[in-house]
């Protein structure tokens, strides 16, 4: 009997200590994120603006000759996207709630990189997921806006839906809705002043009617002329890739650089690589061979193609590293974001 009492006391004590530790050592969800994100941009002058989480606080840094922290948000806020102006003096970022279901108050901030002065450019009771800017279209900042945020099933995570492209006039401080598509998904917003168009990745679902057809549809890149947004057209690619995700346009070189699945690793997880498509020669070329989750291509003014690799893709926490590729030689190198 004595032995049983002792065992009981030992179990009670151990459990009590575990509960106590749980109550004191638990890390709130908002404070768990740490490290580099895949959100970055490169200015003409080669400055790299990027977002890093520090104990859950979304922090914006700009790396030029040195590394400067230019903004930091409270742990309950996230940064959805960032754009640095070509001169590297100003940047914009989307401040949103980490509670992804909370659609109230998504604000776009404007930051003076030199002084760190941070002001709210505009805010909306909607979901702003991406920003885009092209110096050729002066004083216009383009953004993707989703109107609802929902999960399509109880075990799936909530995602933004009903997307459209909007723009904001920095001088007149006015908004304009460009498309009226209410798309299920839209991503990788690009602007080309030269083509007077925006480019967007979305589902090629115009002919899909049945559930099977919707399930089978592929994601493609569309050009939407700003003068006639209703006349959008899908960018034709002769070597039909499977789903095509992130992309960047290099109009001067008639080049489209896109992210697509290149294989599957031993754990059954997709490996994403970057490919280029030259729409004049209609040639497709594989650019990266990392056998990892290569993502977010950004074409820098220095002629390099910047991108990130998530070494823990499909894991619980991301592990991003920034890389750049010399398109001529094909050489890749990791970009250090330390001072």
């Amino acid at each position: 009997m004595k032995k049983l009492v002792l065992i009981g006391i030992a179990i009670l004590l151990t459990t009590g200590v575990c509960v106590g530790l749980g109550l004191t050592q638990q890390v709130p969800d908002d404070e768990k994120q740490n490290g580099l994100t895949g959100i970055f941009d490169v200015s003409v002058s080669g400055d790299i603006a990027y977002v890093r989480y520090e104990s859950g606080k979304a922090t914006v840094y700009v790396k030029s000759k040195d590394v400067r922290q230019v903004a930091q948000l409270p742990p309950d806020r996230a940064i959805a996207d960032i754009v640095i102006m070509p001169d590297g003096n100003t940047l914009f970022y989307v401040n949103s709630s980490k509670d992804r279901g909370d659609t109230t108050e998504r604000a776009v901030h404007k930051v003076d990189v030199a002084t760190g002065a941070d002001e709210v450019l505009f805010s909306k009771d909607a979901i702003i997921t991406e920003l885009a800017y092209d110096a050729a279209i002066e004083d216009q900042i383009f953004y993707l806006q989703a109107d609802i945020f929902t999960n399509y099933s109880p075990v799936a995570s909530a995602q933004p839906h009903e997307f459209d492209v909007h723009r904001y006039n920095l001088k007149q401080k006015t908004h304009q809705q460009i498309t009226d598509l209410k798309k299920y998904g839209m991503a990788s917003l690009q602007v080309s002043g030269k083509e007077d168009s925006v480019y967007i990745q979305m589902d090629a679902d115009e002919n899909a009617e049945t559930a099977e057809e919707i399930f089978e549809m592929k994601q493609r890149i569309f050009q939407i002329p700003l003068a006639h947004p209703e006349q959008s057209k899908m960018i034709f690619m002769p070597n039909d890739p499977n789903d095509l995700y992130d992309f960047v346009l290099v109009p001067d070189q008639s080049l489209l650089i896109y992210q697509a699945v290149a294989g599957t690793n031993s754990k059954g997880i997709y490996e994403y690589e970057l490919f280029s498509y030259d729409w004049e020669t209609m040639e497709t070329k594989r650019l990266t061979f990392h056998k990892e989750h290569t993502a977010r291509p950004v074409f820098g003014a220095d002629g390099y193609l910047y991108y990130v690799i998530d070494y823990n893709f499909a894991g619980r926490n991301t592990e991003y590293e920034l890389f750049r590729l010399n398109p001529e030689s094909g050489d890749t190198e990791q970009v250090s974001l330390d001072e």
């Binding site: 575990c18 109550l23 638990q26 619980r316």
Partner: protein
């Protein structure tokens, strides 16, 4: 009947996993044995009190005798249950602390459930409660324990390497071990009645338990698939559990039929069980697809 012998024998029996009937038989047998020994000592010239004392001394330490009897009747059952309960307790603490210190998450509810069922198994093994229907209680505990440790598997898979690999393997072993003990408790550690000794009864238990596990996995799979793809309406969800409920009814029916020596009909019901996966699939079509169209 000597009340001292009764108290002594009760202590012996307390150490065993016998059913109520087996306990009554064993009780009677041991008391008669002690009384015979006592009579022998009395014939040798010892007083009543002295003869009783010598009979018990010759019989041996009650606790040890009980343990020996337990081992003879149910070999290694106690050791297996001790290994399972202690292993489960240690694994529960390890997974909980890994989740806390590696991932920053606390799962107090799961910890308390894991500790409650692991320690219940441990205490019931160390200190059998005579008044309980031990086999039914033990099997209920084992089934719930299997689910709790199944939830532990989800927590293990959520960890970072190498913790996820180590704890997932250990958790899988614990769940498998629990299933083995459910089979053992149901099929082998049963009273040696005429019904239980029949090969047919064992076959029916084997078949039904295996089938029940497969059906449960199938139901959980369809439920998960339903929750992934369903956009609205959960009212039809209960239909997915109909095959499991039918399984329980059919299982009981087979045992009742075997008890009444209706072997053929019992086996026909066993064969009918084979249609349950089809029923599950049919309910899936009804619930999720809203029919064949």
């Amino acid at each position: 009947m000597n009340p001292i012998f009764e108290r002594f024998v009760k202590k012996v029996i307390q150490e065993t996993d016998c059913s109520r009937e087996e306990r009554e038989d064993l009780f009677e047998e041991l008391v008669v044995h002690l009384e015979c020994a006592c009579e022998d000592f009395k014939r040798d010239g010892h007083t009543e009190v002295e003869a009783a004392r010598l009979a018990m001394i010759n019989f041996g330490d009650g606790k040890n005798v009980g343990k020996t009897l337990q081992h003879a009747m149910y070999p290694y059952r106690r050791e297996m249950l001790m290994t399972l309960s202690i292993g489960s307790l240690l694994l529960t603490y390890s997974i909980y602390l890994s989740q806390l210190f590696v991932m920053g998450d606390t799962h107090i509810g799961w910890l308390l459930l894991g500790v409650l069922f692991s320690s219940s198994l441990l205490f019931l093994t160390l200190r059998p409660v005579v008044s309980l229907n031990r086999r039914a209680v033990m099997n209920t505990l084992l089934v719930i324990h299997m689910f709790v440790m199944g939830a532990g598997m989800l927590l293990s898979l959520d960890l970072d390497p190498p913790y996820t690999t180590v704890f997932s393997i250990l958790d899988a072993l614990i769940v498998l071990f629990t299933i083995v003990l459910i089979f053992r408790t149901t099929i082998y550690d049963v009273p040696a009645t005429e019904l239980n000794l029949k090969t047919g009864t064992k076959f029916v238990h084997y078949f039904n338990l295996l089938f029940g596990i497969l059906l449960l996995l199938g139901t959980l799979f369809f439920l998960y698939a339903y929750l992934i793809f369903a956009s609205d309406g959960y009212w039809g969800l209960w239909k997915l559990f109909v095959p499991l409920a039918l399984w329980g009814i059919f299982y009981s029916l087979q045992l009742i039929l075997l008890k009444h020596n209706r072997k053929k009909i019992a086996y026909i019901v066993t064969a009918v069980q084979l249609l349950l996966p089809l029923a599950l699939f049919g309910f899936w079509i009804l619930v999720v697809r809203g029919g064949l169209s």
